[in-house]
């Protein structure tokens, strides 16, 4: 098998970036959806909803880039992965339908607001849970036959994938609570802080459990983490997570507003690096490498030209949009 070309590596990095952007950005607003029923009906829920209403659509666009980019740069992996994860994928898409329209519909129809609140929460929870399940199902490996998925349509469901599902729900919820701690004040903020104290340890336990289980899934994960001299590098990941955890606890004690959110993002980032260590150079563990799945150089190069200009531009106007809606949000809007 040919070595991974630079172009392919660049595309792997761009897609990893897109998926990571999705995970953290839709992560906090899906997390708010998951936590929604805990918040009081009325002001508190309205505040939570208002804090993400102007940005959720942009956040979710990274998911489309993840899917579209995978199709474009690694079509083989796209087709194998999407059919392997058929059931959780469809469930996630349908869940996103419910929670996406709930943003509009709950204001349009006060008579059915309770229903759309349930749709918002249910949709957010199922979407987060299914994303976690898909992650686990991919990590544990899928059966590939020729250039296609060769397994059954329930292969994705294992204790490990349920664990990663639960982990993602916990992590997203923590992100959501940290976001609200940053963007709200008063009662809602206090509520968010209480939730952070519960969700942070739960998320940490989930990360530990997934990290502990992964090397024993086979797929050479053990060697990728623990063989010398790799371990000198890979060991830094849990180490830094420990440091971040300590900083997080400190920031909670001192009632910092932005720091817990940023620190949680950093933990997500490191977990993501961990995933990269486990998977590389495979896109589908043990069967399809980046290079095997790669589209021809002409396709990758064509997209790279545009991406090099467009992605920085997108980041710029996305940042501007966040800047426009900066500051604390209250139930009656931003001030």
């Amino acid at each position: 098998m040919a070595d991974t070309t630079v172009l392919t590596l660049v595309w792997a990095a761009i897609l990893a970036f897109a998926v990571f952007m999705y995970v953290i950005m839709d992560g906090f607003d899906l997390g708010i959806g998951v936590l929604f029923p805990i918040f009081g009906v009325g002001k508190e829920r309205d505040t939570a909803m208002n804090s993400i209403a102007p940005v959720w659509d942009g956040n979710e666009t990274w998911l489309v880039l993840g899917g579209g980019g995978l199709l474009a740069a690694f079509p083989l992996a796209y087709s194998v992965i999407m059919s392997a994860l058929y059931a959780p994928l469809i469930a996630m898409l349908l869940a996103l339908v419910f929670r996406g329209v709930a943003f509009e519909f709950r204001w349009r129809d006060p008579g059915h607001r309770a229903f759309w609140d349930i749709a918002f929460t249910g949709g957010s929870f199922i979407a987060a849970f299914m994303q976690g399940i898909m992650l686990g199902a991919l990590l544990q490996g899928v059966h590939v036959a020729g250039r296609a998925y060769g397994g059954g349509w329930w292969d994705w469901l294992t204790p490990f994938s349920l664990l990663t599902g639960a982990g993602v729900v916990a992590g997203y919820s923590l992100l959501g609570a940290c976001w609200l701690n940053w963007k709200t004040e008063g009662e809602t903020q206090a509520h968010a802080r209480r939730l952070m104290r519960i969700l942070a340890p739960v998320t940490l336990v989930a990360i530990l459990a997934v990290s502990a289980a992964t090397p024993f899934l086979g797929n050479e994960y053990f060697q990728r983490w623990f063989s010398m001299p790799r371990v000198l590098f890979t060991a830094q990941v849990p180490l830094v997570i420990c440091i971040l955890t300590w900083r997080f606890i400190r920031s909670l004690r001192r009632n910092y507003e932005l720091a817990p959110f940023v620190l949680t993002l950093a933990v997500f980032g490191l977990s993501f690096v961990g995933l990269g260590i486990s998977m590389f150079p495979y896109l589908v563990p043990n069967s399809i490498t980046l290079q095997m799945a790669a589209a021809p150089a002409s396709s990758q190069a064509f997209m790279l030209v545009g991406s090099a200009v467009l992605i920085p531009l997108i980041l710029a106007y996305t940042a501007w949009s966040y800047y426009v809606f900066r500051g604390k949000v209250a139930h009656e809007g931003y001030h």
Partner: protein, 472 residues
């Protein structure tokens, strides 16, 4: 399992169902976004509050339509892989980059500026807000550009080679792929269709309120604008549609044969079959009502020109005439009705009775949903007419699907049907509710949406437009 006919049929139904539902929303939001940009520009230019009122009125509707378009669109981005894995693997290197460009140039642009457009009027000032509206409108157009390029490439593939893995790859540069033979025609035809669809919906809302009160200023303005659009653009669409048809005749003759119901070849001038009952089994048209030679005149601009029929196409390559023949007639019929409405409104306008003629207004109300029906019918015509291929002439639909078991596809199809009808059914109900209230001058803050005075949620940002919550 790989050639499981049931799974294939279910996957086709699922794709057709989800894409048809999805297509309704962009068809509306492409037109609405441009309309909103025009309204805001007019407001900035003239300073007349009337335009701002109408802008806010349609902005609320746009927000609901756009949300439904986004969530149904994400489904499409993944369904290629979930249900059409073999197609995705083989066509990915060509269509993937085009779709990635759609995300990068269009989706992010729309999403990035939508928040400001919906909620930012008081935060960024008039001009910057107008810029946001403009970016959203431009985004919808760019989106149409890329996705129709993809669709057109599947209809009239060009500029490709096939590599050792059986994948379609670019042969020499991207321009022949992007600007494939049917693309300019399809793009023009579809974007105009979106504009007409929107114009008729806006016109119907205007007409509805004029029927109740023909002096309502806002209803007058939107009705007048919409009728100008219908009168001027419907004839253009007839012309563009004809050109698109001639292009199809050149590149996909079997599709045109199915549209025309020409099972048999006509060496000495083909008739135009107005109506009939196509019978694919017997490959003949029963009870045909036809005008001799007119078919040749329209398609070849010559009464005696020979026209080949489906009998020249191998049986396994023929599309389903029973579908395409009807969907084409529905589209054309509605197009002619739009043309008639436009002409009628011109007549009324020059008679100085645009806001008074009740039967014309009733007709306009009736035509409100016609654009949606026409775009779906047109879509069915072009997509079913491409069958039995996904990539015309090169890759068959039967060899494109994912290796999925029928129960998996069946279950997901049922789930899609239930969810779409529930969610989008309710969404359509909310749209009708919004439209059933007339836009108000200086609309007050909403009365029964508690605590949203400063405008961050749709309900409150559009506070001025939301006064109707008191009337409902």
């Amino acid at each position: 399992m790989f050639h499981d006919a049931d799974a294939l049929l279910l996957a086709r139904i699922q794709f057709g169902f989800t894409v048809s539902f999805h297509f309704i929303f962009p068809a509306f939001s492409i037109g609405l976004a441009s309309y909103l940009a025009v309204l805001e520009a007019l407001w900035l230019k003239t300073g007349k509050a009337l335009y701002l009122d109408i802008y806010k009125y349609w902005l609320k509707i746009f927000a609901v339509v756009f949300a439904m378009g986004v969530v149904s669109g994400i489904v499409m981005a993944y369904q290629f892989g979930s249900n059409w894995a073999v197609f995705s693997d083989r066509a990915g290197p060509v269509i993937g980059p085009l779709m990635a460009y759609e995300v990068l140039t269009a989706f992010f642009l729309e999403a990035g500026f939508l928040g400001v457009m919906l909620f930012g009027m008081k935060k960024v000032g008039k001009r910057l807000h107008f810029f946001a509206t403009l970016m959203v409108a431009v985004g919808t157009m760019i989106s149409a550009f890329w996705i129709l390029s993809v669709n057109s490439w599947m209809q009239t593939p060009a500029g490709y080679a096939i590599n050792a893995e059986g994948q379609f790859v670019p042969a020499a540069g991207w321009l022949p792929i992007i600007f494939n033979p049917s693309f300019p025609y399809r793009l023009a035809h579809t974007v105009i269709a979106a504009y007409l669809t929107t114009a008729l919906a806006v016109g119907a809302v205007g007409a509805w309120h004029l029927l109740k009160d023909f002096k309502q200023d806002h209803a007058r303005k939107m009705f007048s604008m919409a009728m100008w659009m219908a009168a001027l653009v419907a004839p253009v669409q007839v012309f563009v549609g004809d050109q698109h048809g001639l292009n199809t005749l050149e590149h996909q003759p079997a599709k045109v044969m199915a549209m025309e119901g020409h099972y048999q070849s006509h060496p000495h001038g083909a008739p135009l079959i107005l109506f009939g009952v196509p019978d694919d089994e017997a490959q003949r048209m029963a009870h045909a009502v036809e005008i001799p030679r007119l078919g040749s005149l329209i398609l070849k601009h010559d009464l005696d020109a020979p026209l080949a029929g489906l009998d020249t196409i191998a049986p396994e390559n023929r599309p389903a005439v029973e579908v395409v023949f009807w969907s084409f007639r529905v589209m054309v019929g509605i197009g002619l009705l739009m043309f008639a409405l436009g002409a009628w409104s011109l007549l009324a306008r020059f008679a100085g009775k645009l806001y008074e003629w009740r039967w014309m207004k009733r007709f306009a109300v009736l035509m409100g949903p016609s654009g949606f029906i026409a775009v779906i019918a047109g879509w069915i015509t072009t997509e079913v007419g491409r069958q039995p291929f996904t990539i015309y002439g090169l890759m068959r639909t039967a060899e494109s699907a994912s290796p999925l078991a029928a129960p998996a596809v069946g279950a997901s199809l049922v789930a899609f049907v239930i969810v779409y009808f529930t969610v989008f059914g309710m969404g359509s109900w909310y749209l009708l509710k919004l439209m059933s209230r007339a836009p108000q001058p200086h609309e007050p803050e909403p009365a029964n949406v508690p605590g949203h005075a400063a405008g961050i949620t749709p309900a409150s940002a559009l506070a001025a437009g939301a006064g109707e919550s008191r009337h409902g």
